[in-house]
């Protein structure tokens, strides 16, 4: 039974990541009409920002930037001097990362939205998917170039080390924290969108942006902020996952495909639907790991197929 509970906990943790990511995808899709393929890459960036904040970062010196040795000029046969770097140690711990990483990645996302995504308004959906896929390739490729493909360790913060004996199982505190904190963030996002005035503007702009603009609300700025919010949620999930899964450039690449399946199952019409579907699928995956481990990689996809066969519009109903 111990093993079953342990797998259930792993399932809940994966479910938290599914929920946070599919929530962000749904919010972004509502406002921008774009499926953000870069979501996995931005999740990865969140984890890396946390890593840099704690362990510092090696930046190229000004001289190396100016003489071009940071660029891959060897690709075109130009010999360059080796890159000189200097180390900036920030020493900001996990708690700072939880706050700073979503902001940093969120700002990066807003820059992406202002410089690229906004030009796709009015075009077919598929261009948004292709553009964000390209962005994901660039980000993941750059990180792979500079940090390799292997994982970097990120220590669990001291306050959350150790575990509790619950009688029926041993609960590592950090894992419990991830589930509870993610759930709190999900519910806060739900509250923000469904119950506040800002959320009402957001929902109205999703339904009819032109009309909302006519009321004097700056819809383009709201779109930018929405993208920042969705991306920030992904980065937050990245920080949460850093101590559990190692920090790797490709940590988001496979995850995003599972999250797409989650989104297909749950539909993107409802915020609460995304949250519940995310957690539920995580739990089902965890159970599969215990009862039939061979299928644990595929169970979400198989469920997607079943849902499509039985209820093609997805569980929460609205057709695309």
């Amino acid at each position: 039974m111990q093993a079953l509970y342990a797998q259930l906990l792993v399932g809940l943790i994966n479910g938290s990541f599914y929920a946070l990511l599919s929530l962000g995808l749904a919010v972004i899709f509502g406002m921008l009409n774009i499926i953000n393929f870069a979501h996995g890459a931005l999740y990865m960036m969140g984890a890396f920002v946390a890593f840099f904040l704690l362990n510092g970062i090696d930046l190229p010196t000004m001289a190396s930037v100016l003489n071009g040795s940071v660029l891959p000029l060897s690709l075109i046969g130009i010999k360059t001097a080796p890159v000189e770097t200097f180390h900036i140690g920030l020493g900001l711990n996990y708690w700072w990362a939880l706050l700073i990483a979503p902001i940093v990645v969120g700002v990066f996302g807003m820059i992406l939205e202002r410089t690229m995504l906004q030009w796709l308004a009015g075009l077919d959906h598929l261009y948004g998917l292709l553009l964000t896929f390209g962005i994901a390739l660039i980000v993941q490729g750059l990180f792979q170039n500079y940090f390799g493909s292997s994982g970097l360790p990120y220590a669990i913060p001291d306050e959350l080390k150790g575990g509790m004996n619950l009688g029926f199982m041993f609960l590592p505190i950090y894992r419990g924290w991830v589930v509870i904190f993610s759930l709190a963030v999900c519910i806060a996002t739900w509250y923000l969108i469904e119950k506040t005035r800002l959320g009402a503007y957001l929902r109205a702009a999703t339904e009819n942006p032109t009309l909302v603009r006519a009321f004097g609300i700056n819809v383009p700025r709201m779109i930018t902020l929405t993208y920042g919010l969705g991306v920030g949620l992904a980065a937050l999930a990245g920080v949460l996952s850093a101590p559990i899964n190692q920090v790797r450039p490709l940590m988001g690449a496979d995850l995003i495909i599972v999250v797409f399946a989650v989104v297909v199952i749950g539909g993107m019409g409802s915020i609460m639907g995304s949250i519940i579907t995310g957690f539920a699928l995580g739990v089902i995956e965890g159970l599969t790991k215990y009862f039939y481990p061979e299928a644990s990689n595929t169970v979400v996809f198989v469920l997607m197929v079943l849902v499509l066969l039985i209820k093609p519009t997805g569980l929460t109903g609205r057709a695309a």
């Binding site: 899709f29 499926i35 891959p72 060897s74 690709l75 690229m116 030009w119 796709l120 075009l123 077919d124 959906h125 598929l126 261009y127 998917l129 292709l130 553009l131 896929f133 390209g134 962005i135 994901a136 390739l137 660039i138 980000v139 993941q140 490729g141 750059l142 792979q144 170039n145 496979d254 495909i257 599972v258 797409f260 399946a261 989104v263 297909v264 061979e294 990689n297 595929t298 996809f301 198989v302 997607m304 197929v305 499509l308 066969l309 093609p312 519009t313 057709a319 695309a320």
Partner: protein, 322 residues
């Protein structure tokens, strides 16, 4: 509704004449490749991918359906053909037939599932289905997991053509490519193709005219998947292996990229795009992940500034349908 290309010209007699001229020029140029001393392996590989990209383009360019899982046909047909050739020891033509039949069955099943949702959901579903297959192939014993199926015998096609000889293999691949290309070309210009284009432009109106659009889309998907499988079977003879990379989502992305670079919804665009992307991979092979970065940059540049693609831009400039 969805507008993939903004300058689709009607298939006027002049357009058909232009396209046939370009086709003949392309066939003649390709036929002279072995005489030029260009590395034939590169051209053969590019031809396989060109056929694959053309099949993919049939779906997106003329049906408006973006499949993000077309690698599953490439990889599956490759595995089926490779297994049949190596383990069962069948002849090459039978091996290719098995690959085609396998991918046809696969496309019927995945098409039936994915056609149920429209637009962007269709892309996500095809991506998820190909990832599902990836994990199945990763665990299935006959694919040999990470190693893949290697050292596949090439054999004699129709008991006559020795496929182990590069020149013979080259012309076999070329003929197969041209046949596949003509099949796609014929489909696009058939009444079926016209209905498909009308669905792409305005599905509601096509429905109101009495067309069962789901059946047309499914038919296009099956045709596209089967021809993609044909390309996958051919590739086995060129590469002499079948591996997981051919089923991975990065491969699906590359297929999309080839078509996007050449021009979505153009006749010859996917061929041009396939040659460019394969050449790029060939020459940049030593530079690790920079290839990924460059591919990403091309994606972004194409979507933001260059949506017609190379052939699309040329056709637009000369006001010709290519």
């Amino acid at each position: 509704m969805s507008v993939v290309t903004d300058d689709t010209l009607p298939a006027a007699p002049r357009a058909v004449r232009d396209e046939m001229i370009v086709f003949v020029v392309m066939a003649i140029l390709l036929a002279f490749v072995p005489a030029t001393g260009i590395y034939p392996f590169f051209v053969m590989q590019a031809l396989c991918f060109a056929l694959l990209a053309c099949a993919f383009n049939l779906l997106i360019g003329f049906g408006g359906l973006l499949s993000f899982g077309h690698a599953m046909f490439l990889g599956s047909a490759g595995y089926f053909t490779a297994h049949a050739l190596k383990v069962w020891g069948v002849t090459p033509e039978l091996g290719i037939l098995i690959g085609i039949a396998g991918s046809a069955v696969l496309s019927v099943i995945t098409g039936y599932i994915s056609i149920r949702r429209q637009g962007i959901y269709f892309s996500m579903i095809t991506l998820a289905l190909s990832q599902l297959l990836y994990f199945i192939y990763l665990q299935a014993p006959f694919t040999h997991g990470e190693d893949g199926i290697q050292g596949i015998p090439q054999g004699y096609l129709f008991w006559v053509f020795n496929l182990a000889k590069p020149t013979v293999l080259y012309y076999v691949i070329l003929v197969a490519f041209l046949a596949g290309f003509l099949l796609i070309y014929r489909t696009i210009n058939s009444p079926f193709g016209e209905v498909l284009k009308s669905i792409r432009e305005n599905e509601q109106r096509a429905i109101s005219l009495g067309y069962k659009t789901d059946q047309y889309k499914l038919m296009a998907y099956i045709l596209s998947g089967t021809i993609a499988g044909f390309a996958g079977s051919l590739k086995v003879f060129v590469a002499q292996n079948a591996s997981l990379t051919d089923v991975h989502w990065t491969m699906s992305g590359e297929i999309v990229l080839m078509t996007l670079v050449g021009g979505l919804g153009t006749i010859f665009g996917p061929v041009v795009g396939a040659f460019i992307i394969i050449a790029m991979q060939q020459y940049l092979a030593g530079f690790g992940q920079w290839v990924t970065v460059i591919q990403g940059v091309i994606f972004v540049a194409c979507v933001l500034a260059f949506r017609r693609g190379i052939v699309g831009e040329i056709g637009h400039y000369f006001r010709r349908s290519l």
